[in-house]
Amino acid sequence: MILVIGIGNPLRSDDGVGQAAALEIGRCLPSQDVEILAVHQLTPELVEPISRAERVIFLDADVEHPPGHIEVTPIRPSDEAAGAFTHHVSPAGLLLGAQQLYETSPKGYLISIGASSFDFSETFSPQVQAAFFEYVTTVRQLIED
């Protein structure tokens, strides 16, 4: 099973792009081999569905790259954000959790997209809107590889 986790707040413009892309993938690929989760933030209980996956693809907005820029980053298990672990955790932390609690090691990827607007809005900035199709296509290619 491939697990796609879209992260963000759909009421805060570009922050919701991860959720929107995940839901779009769910519509494009209604397959039992692909499970879709749309979440506001990553929480520890996601460790369990992640532990059942062969591959996990995290989709999230990114403030470090130019708006619309798409980046695919492999994720390795890590506890680097351990001090902050309460009910919020990083993709790397979740992979570590799957390893430590369930002894599974799914491959992890973060596909991020540069974002510019985090205002109260249910629409994306023009740059993110323009790149959205390419973003979903990138996710599809990784799933179908």
């Binding site: 506001h40 520890p44 209980e45 351990a82 001090g83 672990f85 309460t86 369930y102």
Partner: protein, 471 residues
């Protein structure tokens, strides 16, 4: 020279707060305070909105316990409509409220407090988190994940989503339960009960390691307040309000929800955005009282479910005045929640499609009170003749505990802090007493990842004398 120690932010709680500790010339703790540093304003900006929007609007107060606000908000609207909610809808709301309490208790116990309980109050801060727990006790960590998941799944099955489901509505719930979903929920409960029993056994086995904390974690006489069910049983949805003292002697009983302002008054302290309610008859601050899991178990004679009652019998042997035992009470309530949900799901009428009563507003004031994970939650709405909100007042569980948390911080600081030798373990205990209450200061404004602790020792002239940073 007097000094001030500041713990800012307080970690592993819901929301944003800081603690200040005032030292005297001899380096002894003179006073300590818990400051809530965020402001929300929900009561004000809902003015002018149609009353039927209130449950959903108020649910946005919180990302951890939105269901609690939905329930209290829907009950306040029921009072505005003056309708009798169909019994199936009452049972369905109860199931959702209990699932909410269960998932929130699991978060509080396993994610926020268990690192201290498993690894010790003095453990290295970098290890005192869920990753440290994973390494030290993977089964306990898996159990926490499973229990929170179970509560969230039940909420999702009932309301369509885990966070902010708009299913409880004025007059009932928006859709009936299907047999398929009921069976899915019932299938999850045996595991949840087994895990909770196992966790309780573990917790009781380590209780002896925390004698100093039990003695000093907000361990003083106060009143306890909450809803009480029929035959003096545990209840989280509806029932009269009761106050008892530390000896569990009833101080006031059978109090009506609509009259809450007759027995609760609200004070405001200049150092915090958190209100400080008190029992009106005893004045301020003598009318200090506590709400939440410990309070609820102190109020009742039994839980009303077999496994929780067996656990309650053992619980009666512990020091009922110590807020440290909120942890113990939380686990008993978890057990109760699964058992009670099972009972309610097996009710022959639970699949009835009569789940909502309809009416136009018949009252201009509506008060809804229910038990949230952290304690009694009060929603009070007033409307004009068009059904628009003219006034709202919310007293959340954490507010009721404001006075007790402040006094608890001072008690722990005096017990553990010695001015010349500030260790991380000492400061962690000052935070940990707050965590026993599982305060929900505002779950919808989560900190952005790096919850550090900054301790500053400041001289009377404001000069920074020393600083400790962690996290």
């Amino acid at each position: 020279m007097s000094r001030v120690i500041t713990i800012d932010p307080v970690t592993r709680i819901e929301g944003h707060a800081k603690i200040t500790i005032q030292l005297d010339d001899a380096g002894q703790v003179q006073d300590a305070r818990f400051h809530v540093t965020q402001y929300r304003g929900f009561e004000k900006f809902c003015e002018g909105r149609p009353f039927h929007e209130m449950p959903s609007l108020m649910a946005r107060t919180c990302g951890i316990c939105p269901v609690s606000h939905l329930i209290a908000g829907a009950k306040a609207c029921d009072a505005l409509l003056a309708v009798r909610v169909p019994s199936t809808a009452v049972h369905l709301r109860k199931i959702m409220n209990l699932a909410q309490i269960a998932q929130s208790h699991a978060l509080s116990f396993f994610y926020l407090s268990a690192p201290d309980l498993l690894l010790g109050m003095d453990a290295e801060p970098g290890q005192r988190n869920v990753f440290g727990m994973m390494a030290a006790n993977p089964e306990l960590t898996r159990d926490g994940v499973k229990l929170r998941q179970t509560g969230q799944k039940i909420i999702e099955l009932l309301g369509g989503k885990r966070i902010h489901p708009n299913w409880p509505v004025p007059g009932g719930v928006s859709s009936p339960l299907t047999a398929e979903k009921r069976d899915q929920m019932l299938a999850m409960l045996p595991d949840a009960i087994t895990i909770t029993k196992r966790t309780l056994e573990w917790f009781v086995s380590v209780l002896g390691n925390f004698k100093p904390e039990i003695e000093s974690f907000a361990n003083f006489p106060t009143l306890f307040m909450g809803i009480v069910g029929k035959n003096n049983t545990l209840e989280h949805y509806d029932g009269p309000i009761r106050f008892v003292d530390r000896d569990r002697t009833i101080v006031a009983d059978g109090l009506r929800h609509a009259d809450y302002q007759d027995y609760i008054a609200e004070a405001v302290e200049p150092h915090s955005y958190l209100k400080s309610p008190y029992y009106r008859s005893m004045g301020y601050p003598d009318g200090i009282y506590r709400v939440g899991p410990l309070a609820r178990l102190n109020l009742v004679e039994s839980c009303g479910t077999p496994l929780a009652d067996a656990a309650l019998a053992d619980f009666r042997g512990v020091d009922r005045g110590s807020s440290f035992h909120n942890h113990y009470a939380r686990l008993i309530e978890l057990l109760y929640a699964w058992e009670k949900i099972e009972q309610l799901l097996n009710d022959p009428d639970i699949l009835s499609d009569h789940v909502r009563a309809f009416a136009a507003p018949n009252n201009d004031v509506g008060v809804g009170i229910s038990e949230a994970p952290r304690g009694t939650l009060i929603h009070h709405y007033e409307i004009d003749r068009n059904g628009l909100i003219t006034h709202a007042n919310l007293i959340i569980a954490t507010g009721h505990n404001s006075l007790a948390m402040n006094r608890g911080v001072a008690q722990v600081a005096k017990r553990f802090i010695k001015g010349d030798q500030i260790t991380d373990g000492m400061l962690n205990r000052v935070e940990a007493v707050i965590r026993t209450y599982d305060p929900c200061l505002s779950c919808s404004t989560h900190a952005a990842g790096h919850m550090a602790m900054n301790v500053q020792v400041v001289g009377p002239d404001g000069e920074l004398l020393s600083e400790v940073q962690r996290g």
